[in-house]
């Protein structure tokens, strides 16, 4: 049986979330920003699984499946938008994509 205290498990999820947040704030490449959002989604799901294990209820795992569906949709739309942005601007640097019209 896993006897790691639940605080440590939540700390692990929190570290992953903040790594994703740092990546989102620091990187200027759109692909890396989407990747950081993925990391944050995943750590949120990890918190659900930890809670599910802690309370011994299946609800957390159900929520993880919903997070999975939302993530899949988000990635599909986000990558399609990235492709369009790249075709239009020929760059993925968000500092250069700051015009609403050109």
């Amino acid at each position: 049986m896993l006897t790691v205290p639940v605080e440590t498990q939540l700390l692990f999820a929190g570290i992953l979330f903040f790594l994703g947040l740092i990546g989102l704030l620091v990187r200027r490449n759109l692909v890396f920003m989407l990747l950081s959002i993925e990391i944050m989604f995943n750590s949120a799901g990890l918190v659900f699984i930890i809670a599910s294990h802690h309370w011994n209820q299946p609800d957390g795992q159900v929520m993880f499946i919903f997070i999975l569906a939302v993530t899949a949709v988000e990635v599909a739309i986000g990558l399609a938008l990235i492709l369009q942005v790249y075709h239009h601007f020929k760059t993925l640097d968000v500092d250069k994509i700051n015009k609403l019209k050109d």
């Binding site: 692990f12 692909v31 930890i50 294990h53 795992q61 739309i77 990558l79």
Partner: protein
């Protein structure tokens, strides 16, 4: 069992740090896949084997492959000297070591798994499925609508603009 959790957590954190700090998009994606595999080991240790399988199949299998396809389509990675970089041990030694540690971790965790006893109850996938299709039925339908919208949106955004002019009338 605890040491396996700590090893997997350390690998997840290290490879996530490498993923968000890498220069090359493909290398970052591969590090992120390693991180997802480590988190899947954590899920397994948290008595959620079904979710661990979903993490590997959907996250590492489908979503990351989509990322890699788009990255390769956009040619973000450095094309020149790529072969030389691949042959450079500095490029593959860290991920290989991390992945090997993860494999050993998983194998030892599987070996030390206590036999299923009656007192300790583990959440079974069956229980998750029953809960999913009874309590959360409305949420499943909403997720289905969301996926449908995602498919239509991705198709619309991904479609190329159609040519309307004859090729002789095009501006060069």
């Amino acid at each position: 069992m605890n040491i396996f959790f700590y090893i997997a957590a350390a690998i997840a954190i290290i490879s996530t740090m490498m993923a968000i700090s890498g220069r090359n998009a493909i290398h970052s994606l591969l590090f992120l896949i390693l991180s997802l595999l480590a988190i899947s080991v954590v899920f397994y240790l948290l008595d959620a084997p079904f979710i661990a399988a979903l993490e590997v199949i959907i996250y590492a299998g489908a979503i990351m492959v989509l990322f890699i396809f788009v990255t390769m389509m956009l040619n973000i990675g450095l094309e020149q000297k790529q072969e030389k970089q691949w042959l450079n041990p500095r490029m593959w030694i860290i991920p290989s070591i991390l992945a090997a540690i993860l494999l050993v971790d998983l194998m030892l965790a599987l070996r030390n798994m206590p036999p299923a006893v009656a007192g300790v109850q583990q959440i079974q996938p069956k229980q998750v499925g029953i809960s999913l299709f009874s309590t959360y039925l409305l949420a499943v339908e909403i997720a289905a609508i969301l996926l449908m919208a995602g498919v239509i949106g991705a198709y619309h955004l991904g479609s190329q603009k159609k040519k309307v002019l004859h090729r002789f009338l095009e501006k060069k």
